[in-house]
């Protein structure tokens, strides 16, 4: 079973995470077919592979967007929680 993925839609990091998450169920080979297209092949896998892969790709893409958009605020919130005495000190509110 082979699925071709457009890397302009699913960036490399998203493909990597999707493949990682599926590797207990499928043995997946990755091949760069052209500048933008990557082929993901799971020898011997049934048609469920395509559905599982696309679901994983879409979910990891959503997670990636959230992670990218929230990188700065996450750093700020964690710094405020554990960094001690900067401008976002947790001392501004309760213990």
């Amino acid at each position: 079973m082979k699925v071709t993925v457009d890397r302009r839609i699913y960036p490399e990091s998203v493909i990597s995470k999707a493949v990682y998450s599926l590797c207990d169920r499928y043995s997946i080979a990755r091949m760069l077919a052209s500048e933008h297209f990557e082929e993901l092949e799971a020898p011997g896998a049934g048609p469920s592979f395509e559905a599982d892969l696309l679901q994983a790709l879409n979910d990891y893409k959503l997670r990636q967007i959230i992670a990218d958009e929230t990188r700065d605020v996450k750093t700020i919130l964690y710094a405020a929680a554990f960094g001690g005495d900067d401008t976002f000190s947790a001392d501004d509110v309760q213990d």
């Binding site: 001392d91 501004d92 509110v93 309760q94 213990d95």
Partner: protein
């Protein structure tokens, strides 16, 4: 009118100011615009002078007492000297206490005997702001609640139920459970049908019999998670039977009245009754009889 302290009353309150920083849509005593703190200060000094010794709880209300700023601290120190063992019950919208150092100094002035009653109108910032009539009020109120608690005050949250928040009572309870679990009490309160609540009734009014299901959901949730919870100002006959044990006789004795139906009610003695000041009574008041 000066209301003197009475050792047998459940409501010995100093009225600090009629001014307020919020513009709550259901406010039963709409804020005054003019400066009134000086005149009220003099009255309050007189009340304190004439008060009997040993008053257990001194209330400070308004308006928004924190409008007094530094003079609130002075007032609390005077109260503390007059009644060293009294708890101070401050009714505030909490916003001024988003300043942590102010919160600390106010709590200090009561030597840690401060109970702050703070209205929380919603878990959703924009709904709270809309009900409070001020953009940004929610953030300041929640920060103030946290700061007061961090400074050592007991914080009682007050959720006044109105048309804009009654459907989110359980969400409000969830917000309290997750973010304000230190609250000493959460009180769900019926509106008093007077002032803006009466003037704006078409927009803000909601009858207890129309929200008792939502109220039960919120009360049960908080109780389930071991948070102290109470219902104020709702007569027992308008609560789901399961919520009745949370109801308090919350209406100040000088404001309390009963309807004629209440004479036959078995639970009258435990009931908060009705506000004598309301322009209209609640709908569906009825006697609770075990035979019925």
């Amino acid at each position: 009118m000066i209301r003197d302290f009475d050792i047998s009353s459940n409501d010995n309150t100093l009225y600090a100011t009629g001014r307020c920083s919020n513009r709550c849509v259901f406010c039963c005593e709409p804020p005054v615009q003019h400066e009134d703190t000086e005149a009220l200060w003099a009255e309050n000094m007189l009340v304190l002078q004439r008060a009997p010794d040993g008053v257990p709880v001194v209330g400070i209300s308004g308006g928004e007492p924190a409008v007094l700023g530094e003079r609130l601290i002075e007032l609390l120190e005077i109260v503390g000297r007059r009644f060293p063992r009294a708890d101070v019950h401050l009714l505030t919208n909490g916003r001024a206490f988003s300043n942590l150092s102010y919160a600390r100094r106010v709590v200090q002035a009561t030597r840690g005997r401060l109970v702050a009653g703070v209205p929380l109108h919603s878990d959703y910032c924009c709904d709270h702001d809309m009900i409070a009539g001020v953009a940004g009020a929610f953030d300041e109120t929640v920060a103030g609640i946290c700061n007061l608690a961090a400074a050592g005050a007991a914080v009682e949250l007050r959720v006044v139920i109105n048309r804009y928040n009654y459907m989110r009572l359980r969400d409000i309870a969830l917000f309290i459970h997750r973010n304000l679990p230190f609250a000493a009490l959460t009180a769900f309160m019926a509106m008093e049908r007077v002032g803006l609540a009466s003037d704006n009734a078409a927009e803000v009014w909601i009858e207890p019999c129309d929200y008792s299901g939502y109220l039960a959901g919120a009360v049960d949730f908080l109780d389930q998670w071991h948070h102290p919870v109470a219902v104020y100002n709702v007569p027992l006959c308008l609560l789901s039977p399961g919520s009745r044990r949370f109801a308090c006789r919350s209406i100040s004795d000088w404001k309390q009245r009963f309807a004629s139906e209440c004479d036959r009610c078995e639970l009258r003695a435990e009931c908060c009754g009705l506000f004598a000041t309301s322009t209209e009574p609640f709908r569906n008041i009825h006697a609770i009889c075990s035979s019925a």
